[in-house]
């Protein structure tokens, strides 16, 4: 009985969320107009000098975000290094 209630609750919630998100979904092949896209396409090459607009967004307009991504990778490697250091429970040889 308890299992049945839990399953029914999850199903009802999932159905409600699916219905709401379906009604708010953008139609395929019909993107909404945004000023930002047009700005990047029109001025990206001129302002950054890069032919690849994706790179000019990632490394120039959103450069700070890329710095954050690099720091995330650095922190992840730091965590692995601390967990698997020599002498810890799972650690191996000195590298």
């Amino acid at each position: 009985m308890r299992i049945f209630v839990v399953v029914m609750t999850i199903l009802v919630f999932c159905g409600a969320f699916a219905y709401v998100s379906h009604s708010a979904m953008i139609r395929y092949g019909d993107p909404p107009y945004t000023e930002m896209d047009d700005y990047f396409i029109r001025n990206g090459q001129e302002q950054t000098g890069a032919n690849n607009i994706v790179t000019s967004v990632v490394f120039d307009y959103r450069g700070f975000d890329t710095l954050g991504e690099a720091s995330v990778l650095f922190t992840a490697v730091l965590g692995v290094g601390i967990t698997l250091r020599k002498g810890s429970e799972w650690g191996g040889k000195e590298i």
Partner: protein, 151 residues
């Protein structure tokens, strides 16, 4: 691993490194960039780790070198970003674009095949991120392999 696997890995290794370096350097012209190219180079290093014995390969590709790579990449990124502050611009401003030295050729507008020597700080940042990613991903593999016991 057997001799066949080791020979195949030795044969593929320089090509994988060259391809990864190509993706890093051409990040501002074609698809790809620092993260993707660094991951490709790290794949080549992972291939060498997998094909050879740990004792042999850890003498050639050292953990200290990879650790230095990772730190140098991140520090290079931050220093290039800070260089824009000298000129009175904001952090990570593209102060080298169209400046006529280091990666400063004027870009031709419209769709074209592109000039490698354009885009200011973007290629330098790509190289910095590539160095960092190749060091970081290989270091994770090296840390995990160091705990595996060999027969």
């Amino acid at each position: 691993m057997s001799k066949i696997v080791r020979s195949a890995a030795d044969l593929l290794y320089p090509f994988i490194l060259t391809f990864g370096f190509y993706i890093v350097v051409h990040g501002h012209l074609t698809a790809g960039g620092g993260f993707q190219g660094g991951a490709v180079i790290a794949t080549g290093i992972a291939l060498m780790f997998g094909a050879n014995r740990y004792k042999v390969i850890s003498q050639q590709i050292r953990g200290k070198m990879l650790r230095t790579c990772e730190a140098v990449g991140l520090i290079m990124f931050i220093i290039i970003g800070l260089c824009a502050l000298i000129d009175g611009k904001s952090f990570l401003y593209n102060w080298l674009a169209n400046a006529d030295w280091l990666f400063g050729h004027p870009v031709t507008y419209g769709s074209n095949t592109g000039d490698l020597y354009t885009a200011g700080i973007i290629p330098i940042l790509n190289i910095a991120i590539g160095i960092e990613v190749l060091g970081g991903l290989s270091l994770i593999i090296l840390y995990m392999l160091s705990g595996v016991s060999e027969e």
